[in-house]
């Protein structure tokens, strides 16, 4: 896409508007038991150098043998990105020197990646969807880890990650704001997690982003870009883009030029700074890895993997809108995590009304989970229990206010919500006689307010509040409203 940003996304400079152009390289760790080219464990952590074979340590004479599951994961991911799957791809050596790269090169794919062009539909806001092009996806090895804090004069190297499979997913420069970039990473993460090809854990480094940022005057050709390396949270990606765009605009408005370089984002200081400024331009001297034959498979293999793919987020979202009549925003929130979508559908199967269940989850339950740092899988309330609560709200057995008290109870001491409501007498009072008595009591106790209400009908809300209070929140608010209007003659 070469189209230009909507005027609302432009950044105001001292001398006029600027458009920011963003492309991204995402490194996603492939979910597999063993490494890309060796039989050592790909599990995160472990004692130093414990998940290392002599292949990963690059001992002379060792030969790489590819892990077929990593290939399958890359193909599945390519399918999820609606991308072209290349039936023949080639591994190359990307040469550079670093202590945590024992081979002296990374095995990667250069001219012939396993996956070609694709596309991701990104929900930027409840009302805005954009398409972000995918340039390619290729398989490569991760490097080891250098620890610089254990000693003042030395670095410690652990090769446990050396040789773990990564997918590098390169986007086209199709994003025009920090918000769009954040939404793209978030959507990509959702797709990877649905497919099960990457756990998307940004704290553990399973998903890392290199962000390319440039600015230009609207309508002009692309400006010089800077690459911000290894940003490891969605929030930081947004911040890094904002400060980098501002930095470039300030330079250009002062009549300067942007130097193409690699930069690092420092979240503490809220700035980006130059990395490897003294070093010459990268010269990776790529060439085909003579240890590895081309990676080839047939269309039948791809088709078989396609058949096993789960329902992906876009399809699920469309189905939720169609089948359950959910608003697009609600459907979008529910499908962000496959587990949440499954939980929602479990509530429906248990008899909850879909719209009420979506409302309840989004406005009540997800907020509580977030606040406690829990996920849908680790939260204390089952889909069946939440379904019972929603069903009691829908059938007017309990009021919305009581429902909030009820979830508080179920949250801390799991039990059947219906039994709790019964045992604690939380059922909504729909008996008009009982409510009428409460209404009469409030009216006769407050003659001054009655006079005010006659002059100013919005005072009704105060009366509703009082009646709800005297009935312990159990009165049906609609009945209270109707009775009050009738008795006050409003």
């Amino acid at each position: 896409m070469t189209e230009h940003a909507a005027p609302s996304k432009l950044i105001k400079g001292a001398t006029g508007d600027w458009e920011v152009v963003i492309g991204m390289e995402i490194h996603a760790q492939v979910t597999s038991r063993a490494k890309l080219f060796s039989g050592a464990s790909a599990e995160f952590g472990g004692e130093p150098n414990d998940h290392v074979s002599i292949v990963d340590a690059a001992m002379p004479g060792m030969l790489p043998v590819i892990n077929e599951e990593c290939v399958a994961q890359a193909v599945r991911t390519g399918l999820g990105l609606e991308a072209k799957i290349n039936l023949r791809s080639v591994f190359d050596r990307k040469n550079y020197f670093y202590p945590d790269l024992p081979q002296g090169y990374q095995i990667s794919q250069y001219k012939h990646p396993i996956v070609g062009e694709g596309e991701v539909i990104v929900d930027v806001s409840p009302t805005e969807r954009i398409k972000v092009g995918v340039e390619r996806l290729h398989l490569e090895q991760d490097a080891g880890k250098s620890l610089h804090e254990l000693s003042a004069t030395e670095s410690h190297v652990d090769l446990n990650r050396s040789g773990v499979a990564l997918m590098e997913i390169v986007s086209k420069p199709d994003m025009r704001s920090a918000e769009e970039a954040r939404a793209y990473v978030s959507k990509l993460r959702t797709i990877l997690r649905y497919i099960g090809s990457c756990d998307g854990n940004m704290e553990q480094g399973s998903l890392r982003a290199d962000v390319n940022v440039s600015v230009r005057r609207p309508g002009e050709p692309l400006g010089t870009r800077c690459e911000i390396k290894n940003v490891n949270s969605i929030r930081f990606i947004g911040q890094a883009i904002e400060v980098e765009a501002r930095r470039q605009i300030a330079i250009l408005e002062d009549g300067g030029v942007i130097a193409q370089e690699t930069r690092l984002f420092d979240p503490g200081k809220g700035e980006t700074r130059s990395l490897r400024s003294k070093e010459e331009a990268h010269d990776y001297r790529y060439f085909p890895d003579p240890d590895l034959l081309p990676l080839e498979f047939d269309q039948a293999y791809v088709d078989a993997l396609a058949r096993e793919l789960p329902e992906l987020p876009d399809a699920k979202r469309a189905r939720f809108i169609e089948q359950y009549g959910l608003p697009p925003y609600d459907a979008g929130v529910l499908v962000m995590e496959r587990a949440s979508a499954d939980y929602f559908e479990d509530m429906i199967k248990d008899g909850a009304n879909p719209k009420a269940a979506a409302n309840w989850l989004i406005n009540e339950y997800f907020g509580r989970l977030n606040k406690e740092g829990l996920t849908i899988n680790t939260g204390p309330i089952s889909a069946q229990a939440n379904s019972s609560i929603v069903q009691m709200i829908t059938s007017n057995e309990i009021s919305g206010k009581i429902a909030k008290d009820l979830i508080e109870i179920v949250w801390s001491q799991p039990g059947d919500p219906r039994e709790i409501v019964e045992a604690r007498g939380m059922k909504q009072v729909t008996d008009t006689g009982e409510i009428e008595a409460a209404v009469d009591a409030v009216i006769s106790a407050n003659p001054d307010k009655v006079a005010q209400a006659l002059a100013k009908p919005t005072m009704l809300g105060w009366f509703v509040g009082q009646v709800m209070k005297t009935t312990g929140g159990k009165a049906n608010p609609q009945t209270v409203n109707e009775l009050l209007k009738k008795k006050l003659g409003i």
């Binding site: 597999s32 038991r33 063993a34 060796s38 039989g39 050592a40 464990s41 004692e47 130093p48 150098n49 414990d50 998940h51 290392v52 074979s53 002599i54 292949v55 340590a57 043998v65 590819i66 892990n67 077929e68 599951e69 990593c70 290939v71 080639v90 040469n95 550079y96 020197f97 670093y98 202590p99 002296g104 250098s146 620890l147 610089h148 254990l150 000693s151 003042a152 004069t153 030395e154 670095s155 410690h156 190297v157 652990d158 090769l159 010459e280 010269d283 001297r285 085909p288 590895l292 034959l293 081309p294 990676l295 080839e296």
Partner: protein, 95 residues
């Protein structure tokens, strides 16, 4: 294609190999001799010919996704000039 002394120094730097000034000329000569030897291949017209990746008509071998290796940190570190616990220890590499 021929290699001059600047290219020799650059390749040495990229590989982090310390090359003394007096060695550059000898290395330049050796590298050029190798290139001249390989350049004989230019005599063959290969236009339209796919690069050969293997002389045998064989498929790439693949392994199953099973952990079969690791747990040999002592062996991995046996040649390390310096180590601490089971880490390799190298000169500080961060600016």
């Amino acid at each position: 294609m021929s290699v001059d002394s600047a290219v020799v120094r650059r390749i040495a730097h990229l590989s982090r190999i310390a090359v003394e000034d007096e060695e550059v000329e000898r290395l330049r000569g050796e590298l050029n001799a190798i290139l001249a030897f390989v350049e004989e291949l230019d005599a063959v017209d290969v236009s339209g010919v796919e690069p050969l990746t293997s002389v045998l008509p064989m498929k790439m071998k693949k392994r199953a996704d099973v952990v079969t290796d690791g747990g040999i940190a002592d062996d991995i570190l046996v040649n390390a000039p310096e180590r601490e616990d089971h880490f390799f220890v190298v000169p500080k590499v961060v600016e």
